[in-house]
Amino acid sequence: MSLTELSIAEARAGLDRKSFSAVELAQAHLDAIAALNPRLNAFILPTPERALADARAADDRIARGAARPLEGIPLGIKDLFCTRGVRSTAGSRILGNFVPPYESTVTANLFRDGAVMLGKTNLDEFAMGSSNMTSAYGGVENPWQRKGDAATRLVPGGSSGGSAAAVAARLCLGATATDTGGSIRQPAAFCGIAGIKPTYGRCSRWGIVAFASSLDQAGPMARSVRDNAILLGSMAGFDPKDSTSAERPVPDFAAACDQPMKGLRIGVPKEYRVPGMSAEIEALWQQGMAWLREQGAEIREISLPHTKYALPTYYIVAPAEASSNLARYDGVRYGLRVIEPGDSLDEMYERTRGEGFGAEVRRRILIGTYVLSAGYYDAYYLKAQKVRALIARDFERAFADVDAILTPTAPSAAFGMGEKMDDPVTMYLNDVFTVTANLAGLPGLSVPAGLSAEGLPLGLQVVGRAFDEETVFAVGAAIERAAGFTARPVLRAGG
């Protein structure tokens, strides 16, 4: 089998057996990047020298019998993670020349466990978007195509579109990503791979460029549920540098993938049958229920009454936090500075930020500034945080009766580049099923479960109790087993 088709578990086994070397594994992926990235634009910055150096070090350790859990595994790193000595842009022009003198905790954990960095993957600017079209470094092409329509280029979803496309196109075995409203799960669904947003607090946010602090959470993307479990096992863990990091042990997520479904109660929220949901998404959802029922789970209808308010809540809370989090990009200590002769400090700020941020980021900063401004705080921000409390309470009540919740991941399959760009609200609706888990801080996993009539991948989402990723992985793996999803995208290494 081609080295780029391996799962992480297979690659680890092959490296330990010395069937191939870490350098060979890295080189196979670097070749794939060289071949496909010019078209896909999944990587903003490939780092071949770094990858080969990492791989050589991995081979040394394997030779010494000192291999670590991810020794030699080549990964893409979303360019929202600060990587020491490697330019980190957050997909923005304003950080176009920023070289962090520090390493994010999550990537440090991966490298501690032996992972190899192939490069920095593309994303919506500051992770704000559902299409990857807001990146200052250009859109990313989804490696999937509609049946018989090679001309229409599709988006990979967002914001972790580069990571999703890279994993789907076999440019890496797995990738890091982040999810504030659906930025792991929606692109995973669009690209036919699996991705999990863990419980808020499971992965440290230290060193990840902040979008909305109370919602941001890092997680992995990979082609199988088990690979996600393996990656999350390395990424997760308590970090004293993040006040919101949970002081809890990291369970054996990979082992959880084998747990049986018998006796599990799976909730299906009636409010997720949203108007205009396509028949094939509805059918896929029903299919998912059937698969779980067949494996011994009990399906129960549940109610999450405040679901329809989740997106408007999100579009107050997230921009509000973002407007404050992005105030630091001012052209003083790092990043872009745009200045004209005679500019005052304020003029320099306005020019730098006006030109450094793209349209969507500017829009969200303005919304966020507005909803926090004098006289509007109570009506918008405070109100939204109260509705958010109600949304969290809905889940708490539901989880008294069920062990996990099954929903579609996204209301549609991948759409064309340039579509849905005219009206911001239409674009925001992409996150309708995913955003609730962020607002309530719960873990959510997207699993590829089938193909649309047009031949595009569709995902199902499993949401679990806080810090119960194990059940989420178990249910996700059960769906994966039943779905037997083997379809591969048109654009892929060796394809």
């Binding site: 400090l345 003029e347 109100k383």
Partner: protein, 95 residues
């Protein structure tokens, strides 16, 4: 709620974002559309509900009072768009 050009200008200035005058009307429309959509929240009865912030169930951990960071002027200055000696430099501020 409706944002006129003057309000957009004020918000943009508060956020230190330069917005060319000719873009103000369109931006105002976009923001209005978003705000109009957001306003469905008014339907929700939130009487007696405590607002949620982050993972509010937890109490904050505290760090010990130890100096273990900060002696790294080159690292903090290395990305600066403009520096003079060991300072960041900005256009002169007249107070």
């Amino acid at each position: 709620m409706s944002l006129d050009a003057a309000t957009v200008r004020r918000i943009a200035s508060l956020a230190r974002l330069r917005v060319p005058e000719d873009q103000l009307p369109r931006l105002g429309q976009e923001l209005n559309a978003i705000l109009g959509w957001i306003e469905q929240l008014n339907e929700v009865n939130t009487g007696g509900v405590e607002p949620l912030t982050g993972s509010a169930a937890l109490a904050m951990r505290m760090r010990e009072d130890v100096v273990n960071d900060g002696a790294q002027p080159e690292a903090v200055l290395s990305n600066a768009p403009e520096r003079i000696d060991a300072f960041y430099a900005v256009p002169k501020v007249v107070e």
